[in-house]
Amino acid sequence: MSHNKSLRASATFSQQVLDEIHRAADQGIYEIRGFGAKRSLPTFDDLVFLGASMSRYPLEGYREKCATDVVLGTRYARRPIKLKIPITIAGMSFGALGANAKEALGRAATAMGTSTTTGDGGMTEEERQSSKILVYQVLPSRYGLNPDDVRRADALEVVVGQGAKPGGGGMLLGHKITERVAEMRDLPQDIDQRSACRHPDWTGPDDLAIKIQELREITDWAIPIYIKIGATRVSYDVALAVKSGADVIVVDGMQGGTAATQDVFIEHVGIPTLPAVRMAVEALQELGMHRKVQLIVSGGIRSGADVAKALALGADAVSIGSAAMVAMGCNRNIFVEDYEALGTAPGYCHHCHTGRCPVGITTQDAELEERLQPEQGARWLKNYLTTMVLELQTLARACGKTHVLNLEPEDLTALTIEAAAMAKVPLAGTNWIPGNNK
């Protein structure tokens, strides 16, 4: 269309809003999609490091040691998790992802000396065999949960919520429910599986403390027990997770991804990862439990810089899900005609819910799955993780740290007032932290 000066778009009813109203009028149902929040949010990009200069002493960038190892689950477990890098792979279900993708995640994590995590749908043999360190999720749905897998897990993660949908349950649409997926979940094929949003056998932190006691009894107190929460009332939730007996707390910000959730949920529930980290650390510090109960942060972690900033704010490790899938080919500019068949394009795809993933990750279709071979997927992800670690070490050395966990809030400054207020680090060029009455 040629430029027409008389046309005036509405800021309130933008073209995107108009399209959504028209879609709703046609279909009578909310939009369901995959991926995470697409709206603009305050992120770690709004923070920068204050590299060493006169007052701080940097480390030689390529030669001096900068360690990255981290130990998780030191509070009660007899066998804490020892990771070589502070980047773990987040829980993603078999069902949402194909078996090849799950195996690739496990292979890459193992090659890097880190952990991967099951998901809502149970533990597959492929991921157990390919993952040296495997965290087994205990979810509200309890799909596939069994004591044999509990005992062969390296840690358990009680999932209370996730960043993409705190307060909501999982969803796996019928066209992704193959015979194998259905059997693992004890449900018929082809039905829309809407996982529960609450656990079936506990209500509240007092019950959860006893539930965790049961899991410890079943595993003879050997392995760590994580609690994962979606970031909302982080200060309270972290304190209650500590009270409930968690060894490790996973806080997932609203940028965290999902395979299928209502768009309104993804975009309008929860808080960003940036303030969530700081709130979680403060809660742990107030209880004297910082570094005693380890903190894993997830939700929109994309680079070594993001990892470094999360650690500087006080996290012990991070977890990646969406970024790991992108490394394995998600939204890569290949098989373009298949993106187009879904009504999307490389760079814009969030169609995990359809089961027609053009690059073979979030699918149960045998032909599409062939597009992601576990060896290749693992290679891509290993390369990506290696890059992230190098970036992380580069920034830590620049701040004079011999271990990445020595990064601290004093190494950071904020570029925006919002980020300064959320992360509680000073606005660049000032000593001002909005909200601090000093």
Binding site: G28, I29, P147, P188, D190, A196, P200, E217, I218
Partner: protein, 223 residues
């Protein structure tokens, strides 16, 4: 027969024994409402508990035959895989939650959410059950010889519910279904196997209308 007195032996010591060297029969006295007694067993042992137990007794049980001569706290036999758990008294909420196999027999009443999210277990309650029982029940059978509280079988999948007494308001997508000869025969065998005396002809069967299995805008009011 091994014997544990929980006034002097800890639950930890008991469970470790049941995990490391399970064999034959074992008695537990003075449970005193303690939590997590006899959970995580994977052996064909017989465990007799003389008294009341707290949360999650017999959780994730495999193979073992466990008898509780008393009342059971929340989550008794949660996620049971096989074997059997018998509660001679009453059971609190979430009894048999997400159970995937085996049998749970409650000789008294069960509280709310009995059989929630059940995935293949057979639960037989000689008394009544509270509200929201068999919520999201996927597979298996819940037999209620007494009455059922409101919202029975809410969002039920392929589990089957049998009720002898009165039923409150049914949950979403739960409907009464025909008792076929196969159902009568199956129920008869289950009652005989679990030692619960009841006339099979007095029961009605409930299951899923399957209207909520795939989203349909015309069924939006049923959610």
């Amino acid at each position: 027969m091994a014997a544990f007195d929980l006034n002097t032996d800890s639950v930890r010591v008991l469970n470790q024994h049941l995990h490391d060297s399970p064999s034959g029969t074992l008695s537990v006295t003075n449970p005193g409402g303690r939590h997590c007694i006899a959970c995580g067993i994977d052996a064909p042992v017989e465990v007799s508990i003389d008294g009341h137990v707290g949360y999650y007794c017999a959780g994730m049980n495999k193979q073992a035959k466990i008898t509780i001569a008393g009342n059971a706290g929340p989550g008794v036999a949660e996620n049971i895989m096989s074997g059997s758990v018998r509660v001679k008294g009453n059971a609190s909420q979430y009894a048999g939650a997400s159970g995937r196999g085996g049998a749970l027999i409650i000789e008294g009443d069960a509280s709310t959410r009995c059989g929630i999210s059940m995935k293949g277990v057979d639960i037989v309650v000689a008394g009544s059950v509270g509200h929201m029982s068999a919520f999201l029940a996927q597979k298996g059978r819940l037999v209620i010889c007494g009455d059922a509280g409101d919202f029975l079988g809410d969002s039920i999948y392929e589990a089957t519910i049998y009720v002898r007494g009165n039923v409150g308001e049914l949950g979403a997508d739960c409907i009464e279904k025909e008792m076929t000869a196969d159902h009568v025969q199956g129920l008869k065998q289950l009652l005989a196997a679990t030692g619960v005396a009841a006339n099979v002809n007095d029961f009605r069967r409930y299951g899923s209308a399957r209207k909520l299995y795939n989203f349909n805008i015309d069924h939006a009011d049923d959610y």
